[in-house]
Amino acid sequence: MPVYIDISRCIGCRSCEVACQRVHGGSGHINVHFVGDSASIPIFCHHCEEANCTIACFTGALHKEGERTAFDVEKCTGCGLCKLACPFGVVWTNKIAHKCDLCEGRDAPTCVTTCPANALTTDFELASRRARSRAARAAAQGGRK
């Protein structure tokens, strides 16, 4: 159940950042980036199917639990190899590693429930439906030239 993002909905308010920091004791795992004046986009863990961070982790602290890339704080030595193995730069180390845990123990990730623009969702169907209807709308209008 990873979090899907619809960038065209993101309004750059950074509410997700704040919510994530609040839930994770000050160290958040989601960063809103601003690309020129054209877009804002939250960057966070993709929970990759074959996650490089789990390959690099030598103690098994980072491991797959179903779709989730889970983290066992007890096993982490803070070596930082996971941080260097992540192609998206979304694993941090500060003595020990920290990354998105999809808000384990909560009903839904707090970034998703907080986003006022509904840009974040855990619902794959919704993400795919939105993309399809956007494509259909563009096709019906003959596309923008």
Partner: protein, 139 residues
Amino acid sequence: MIKVDASLCLGCLSCSNVCPSQNIVRTETAGKRSVHWKRCKEECDLCVEFCPAKALTLVPFDETVPEPDVSFDLVACKICGSRYATEPMLRRIESALPANVQKDSEGLEWIRVCPVCRRNIEAERATKQMVLGRSRKSP
């Protein structure tokens, strides 16, 4: 007492993190990271157990042996130039990951790019895709 094989050490600071008695000292300046192992008498092998490179071994205490020291020049990010990792750590990542994931779709060797720039690249790419989708122009 700890014996260090400097040729194996990655400079990852795992040992320093797990040492319960602060016997492994790290110093980090802008471009350099040094690790210094004090002569310790503890009967503890946490650092040996948690060394990813198996560079450490326990040897009997000997006052005449100098305290080991290893230092690394930190590697500069290919894009922004910030010093972000030691060379042996990057080499280890390069040998651990399958070759086909070490270059991204645009041929960038992302392992040599710092995590901050990796996030920026991801943001720029996603934006490009969105703008493309909105304008419906073929790439």
